[in-house]
Point group: C2
Chain length 274, copies 2
């Protein structure tokens, strides 16, 4: 099915070595969609952003200052429409997007609980990212019971990264006018047949809004987002954890690791240092 | 479990015969939640509306001028946020709410298709309510294929009344930034176990918004709604079909009939004439 001459693509950081576009000059640092390769030929500058702030590690532009950061920002502030004091649940909460959503929720004055798949990640959520609480979903035989324990008052906002059984359990615990921002459903990507979700009646009973979104919707807000987040990073008020593997040849293993939850924090593949 | 002294309640029309509330006088006609009984004692006037326009059949205040009408109005204009030229699908389309949503969609300049459960209802949708097309879902072994036939370009707006398999098929046919207003899921109300819905990944891929709502959210807009719809009714530009059974004793059979799709149009039980 695939075109074998086309490289896998992903969000990357690079340095311009030649350009026919007057907006990008040799030596400019950029982030955007690049190939999994040492040198990429980009035929369009759509979704390509120049990097102006280099006091921050360049790898951050694949994460907190790039696509995942803008995803967390748009998804939380726009799609979730959060209010102070609301109850927020984040799944895959130690991932590149989840860790930021949890911290944004705390900045907003919400109560936030995250789920993750190892005890180390749960500790990270509670001790590094400042979540009010966190749990390991693999240690919870009954997700509905777990959510009732962590959210006795119910959930106002669910930031959805996993889908399937977790979504089904969350639906049983939503509060009236709750919002579910659907960023991804990683548990479903590699299923032969997706899992059934049974509790959608809750959308009617609780007037729930479920909404998918894409980061590209928020590209026009990128510079506003930078103004918002750079001071927090520089002052250490927002934490960010990366999981860096060195060498392009380790990229495929790193990618597969995402689906097993092997990575802790944003998975980055280091192809070359500056 | 139930309190056997409490009557079943529903939206009804009545005449005030005594009142301790200065806003409602003896002789006033009202609609709102009443008991399934000849005389109702209402302890609160919340959600009780006075009837001022009596050139229209009073039974209309249980439907097009009452809860279902306001439901269709708020659900379509607010939740669906329709635009001219969009592709609209309505399930249970000959019901009290569906028949209005389809007509609102036509007034807006949308392309609208409805589904219903008998050939007579399908004819009604096409010939009386002016839907662009309609189909009998019971004659469609593959709902996904049926929707692809009626919406080769996909669906922008789905007005959801049924849930289950229909929702699953619709999800496969949504367009980017499509909206699903969830008014009800009648196919699921009497299931021991609700049906699974498998195609929710489409929420991510197509950035779909699914939103539940309740008519009470739109009570403050009731007089604006009347100003909007009364001229259309008086000029015959909006059609409305009721299925009236006479006698309170026939209420239970009429109610059960809703779940089998026996009624054609808004089911009304006539308890007494004025």
């Amino acid at each position: 099915m695939g075109n074998y001459l086309q490289p896998i693509t992903g969000f990357g950081v690079g340095k311009v070595i030649d350009s026919r576009n007057p907006e990008f000059m040799e030596g400019d640092l950029v982030w955007g969609i690049t190939g999994w390769e040492e040198y990429s030929l980009l035929k369009s500058s759509e979704g390509l952003f120049k990097i102006h702030h280099t006091d921050i590690p360049l790898s951050y532009y694949t994460g907190i200052l790039g696509m995942p950061g803008l995803t967390a920002y748009g998804g939380f502030y726009e799609v979730c429409a959060p209010k102070k004091g609301e109850y927020v649940f984040v799944s895959a909460a130690s991932g590149a997007v989840g860790q930021l959503v949890g911290q944004f929720a705390k900045l907003m004055g919400c109560y936030v609980v995250g789920s993750a798949g190892t005890r180390d990640k749960v500790e990270l959520l509670k001790n590094k990212f400042g979540f009010d609480d966190a749990f390991n979903y693999k240690e919870e035989p009954d997700l509905n019971a777990a959510l009732k324990r962590y959210f006795p008052e119910g959930i106002d906002i669910y930031f959805e990264n996993v889908g399937g059984k977790m979504l089904d359990a969350v639906l049983l615990n939503m509060r009236v006018r709750g919002r579910i921002a659907v960023c991804g459903m990683i548990s479903q990507y590699n299923c032969d047949q997706p899992e059934g979700v049974y509790n959608l009646m809750s959308i009617v009973y609780k007037r729930v809004r479920i909404e998918g979104f894409a980061v590209a919707d928020y590209y026009p807000q990128y510079s506003k987002f930078l103004d918002f987040i750079l001071p927090y990073i520089r002052e250490g008020k927002i934490k960010y954890v990366e999981d860096i593997v060195e060498g392009l040849e380790n990229g495929p293993t790193a990618l597969i690791g995402l689906f097993n939850g092997r990575n802790v924090g944003k998975q980055v593949v280091l192809v070359a240092s500056q």
